[in-house]
């Protein structure tokens, strides 16, 4: 506030700010808000992609129909199950691995890079790879279990509801734990050493240091990581689509949504219904994000 009024550089700050912000607002409006508005508009009508002229106004009835659709409710539950398990395991593993990688040891740089490999592989490739590893005849997992005499008959992991979802969750854990590690490691490196020193002087043991220093300090980072991962997991599509195509009760909301929009909504008047489902997925994820922000007391400013 010490700037003088005659300073020409600062006088027009708001104008400059606006000039810099407008392009990004325009871009966001075009690539995010406009499609969302379009989807919402579509969800108010019953129409088929093939016959855009036969459009009838449906109001919000598609949203009511969603909750009467057992497949939608079942898939929502599958998605929540997938998200809960995968994000939960990833967070715990992520913290553990990040704590390890935060210690100084030989070849630390190399190990840190190696940990990232699963995350760097495209999901399509890793899903296809794991599909083979789960194969009952030639899969490496069955081969190891059989040679260790843990099982007598090969397990067909992806055929039955009892094993298919856990198998898919494992692939997601394998793939995205590195992402968690990366974010949490960044959080750990921001903790000043003086805090640990002070804790030691106060006589805190390793466990107490973790609970009273490390965890509170990385809580915002974990919060951000949880938001990223949960939002990602709630709209999981590729792993499921490639590994089971939704068979064995593994269908998630996005897989159902894709089918409704393309296969069903092309010919029969379900395009609006599919759009309503897209909007509903957006709303569910939005509520989840707000919940996280509140719970973790993350300051977004």
């Amino acid at each position: 506030m010490s700037k003088t009024r005659s300073d020409p550089l600062h006088k027009s700050d708001p104008v400059y700010a606006l000039m810099f912000i407008i392009p990004s607002i325009v871009v966001i409006a075009i690539i995010a808000f406009w499609p969302l508005a379009q989807t919402f508009y579509n969800s108010l009508y019953n129409s088929a992609l093939m016959f855009p002229q036969n459009k009838t106004f449906a109001g919000l009835s598609n949203y009511i129909k969603l909750w009467q659709d057992p497949r939608f409710v079942n898939d929502l539950w599958n998605t929540v199950r997938f998200t809960g398990w995968s994000v939960g395991i990833e967070t715990i593993l992520g913290i553990l691995v990040a704590l390890m990688l935060n210690k100084k040891f030989k070849l630390r740089g190399l190990v840190r890079a190696a940990v990232l490999v699963p995350w760097a592989i495209p999901t399509v490739v890793s899903s296809e790879m794991w599909r083979w590893m789960y194969n009952d005849n030639y899969g490496v997992i069955n081969s190891i279990l059989m040679s260790l005499h843990i099982i007598k008959q090969p397990i067909v992991f992806l055929a039955f509801p009892s094993t298919a979802m856990p198998s898919i969750i494992s692939v997601d854990v394998w793939k995205t734990t590195p992402f968690m590690v990366l974010l949490i490691l960044a959080g750990l490196q921001m903790i000043p050493d003086e805090l640990y020193e002070a804790a030691r002087i106060d006589g805190a043991n390793a466990w107490q240091r973790f609970w009273s220093v490390t965890l509170p300090m990385i809580r915002p980072t974990i919060g951000i990581a949880l938001i990223f991962r949960s939002l990602d997991a709630m709209r999981v599509f590729d792993i499921v689509y490639i590994m089971t195509k939704g068979a064995a009760n593994t269908e998630t909301l996005s897989v159902y949504n894709q089918w409704t929009l393309f296969t069903r909504g092309f010919i029969t008047p379900y395009f609006g219904y599919g759009s309503a489902m897209s909007v509903m997925i957006f709303l569910i994820i939005g509520v989840l994000a707000i919940f996280y922000v509140r719970m973790m007391k993350i300051r977004l400013d």
Binding site: N137, Y138, A159, P161, T244, A247, W259, F262, T263, I267
Partner: protein
């Protein structure tokens, strides 16, 4: 300096003028292996014969579902490109309103050259919306060496197949019979073969749902029993697609396989463990019902023209070129795909290259289409979801039949 400048101007003018004079046709195409290479060679020849037309190939994904999704995107956006579409046999009814009626471009004589089952398949509401390019049919592959060793003949009924597979698979410690049991389009193809072979059907001639007959139930029960009662098919078959089954059979780990003809050249390749040991036969028939017969599901790919295309006459020219007897013979010899033009089946060069086509001529001719409906892909999902649920014990066979029937009736408003 001046001369080169003039030369450049002239050259530029020529390029600009010639680019206006040529018409560019975009065609969707298969993306892998011999199929794409063969097509590229054919296209080159076509462009030499027709200097005014340039053809650009747009390779498509491998799975028929992904191709369908892409076609939905192009057509519903009402884009003029791609001009020529490459469609699965099951697609013409769904896309009919977006495709050019090709009947005015063909004489009856020209159409009579084609395999009539495929022409019927591509005719919807009296409009010929696609031209068959190559045909496919489900066939039974068997290990000729093993059948001979145990003194068996190739099976003609499912019961015989089960019995032979049981004996050989137990003695040889390999799988008996592999097929496509994952929840996807391929399972509908397999299931329809059992249903037809027991004399049943999903829709009758009037389009009424008839999937709750004893024949259909027996068909599903037979598939279920192969896995859990007779144990000739591994439980994993419920996750297999074509390639999963082929890998097992080609490694010598199965006695029988249901698959499409594309496997033949691969099984005979130098790196195949079963090279020279494989025979092919029409799939077995059912027993115990009137009207049992050998059945093969009709597959194949069609060529069609996008209604929004700006170069329809040129696109017709391209389709006529690709489906001419000479080009079909070239494709059959080099890509192993069965021609849609009947005369090519008796071409000595073709029979020499792919002897399979001679022995399977009747199988192709009698191949049965899947239910013909614009909502076919939704029907198929109801079928394969319920069949797969029964095969993985999520529903009993009876429940699966009841659910399938009521869901089909609901979809078709019956």
């Amino acid at each position: 300096m001046k001369r080169s400048l003039i030369l450049m101007v002239v050259l530029m003018t020529v390029i600009v003028i010639s680019s206006f004079a040529t018409v560019t046709i975009v065609m969707t195409a298969g993306a892998v292996g011999a199929e794409l290479q063969v097509l590229q060679t054919q296209i080159k020849e076509f462009m030499q014969q027709n200097p005014g037309i340039k053809v650009v190939l747009m390779p498509m994904p491998n799975s028929t579902t992904d191709r369908y999704n892409l076609d939905v995107t192009y057509l519903s956006a009402q884009m003029p490109e791609p001009d020529v579409l490459f469609l699965d046999t099951i697609d013409p009814p769904a896309f009919a309103d977006f495709l050019v009626n090709l009947k005015p471009y063909y004489t009856d004589q020209e159409l009579a050259q084609f395999f009539q089952g495929a022409i019927n398949n591509d005719t919807y509401n009296g409009r010929l919306v696609a031209i068959p390019w190559f045909v496919d049919a489900g066939i039974l592959y068997y290990r000729a060496d093993l059948l001979q060793k145990y003194g068996f003949q190739p099976p003609t009924t499912w019961d015989q197949l089960i019995q032979e597979a049981q004996v050989i698979s137990q003695k040889e410690k390999i799988q008996g019979f592999v097929w496509q049991g994952a929840a996807y389009e391929g399972l509908t193809c397999d299931f329809m073969e059992y249903v037809h072979s027991y004399g049943g059907n999903i829709l009758d001639e009037n389009g009424k749902v008839v999937s709750d007959t004893p024949q259909v139930k027996t068909a599903l029960q037979t598939m279920y029993d192969m896995i859990y009662k007779y144990k000739i098919s591994p439980v994993g078959v419920t996750t297999y697609q074509e390639e999963d089954a082929r890998h097992i059979f080609q490694n010598g780990d199965a006695v029988f396989m249901r698959n499409w003809p594309y496997c033949w050249p691969l099984l005979q390749a130098t790196d195949s463990a079963v090279r020279g040991k494989v025979g092919v036969e029409v799939l077995p028939e059912g027993t115990g019902f009137p009207g049992v017969h050998h059945s093969a599901t009709l597959g194949g790919w069609e060529l069609a023209i996008n209604k929004y295309s700006e170069h329809i006459p040129e696109a017709v020219k391209l389709i006529k070129f690709l489906t001419s007897p000479q080009q079909e013979a070239y494709k059959a010899i080099n890509a192993g795909q069965a021609p849609s033009v009947l005369s090519v089946f008796s071409d000595p060069a073709v029979i020499q290259a792919v002897p399979l086509f001679k022995s399977l001529y009747n199988v192709f001719m009698n191949a049965e289409p899947r239910p013909k409906s614009p909502v076919y892909s939704q029907m198929s999902q109801i079928i394969y979801d319920n069949v797969n649920a029964a095969l993985t014990k999520q529903e009993t066979v009876d429940q699966a039949i009841v659910n399938m029937t009521s869901q089909l009736k609901q979809l078709l408003g019956q």
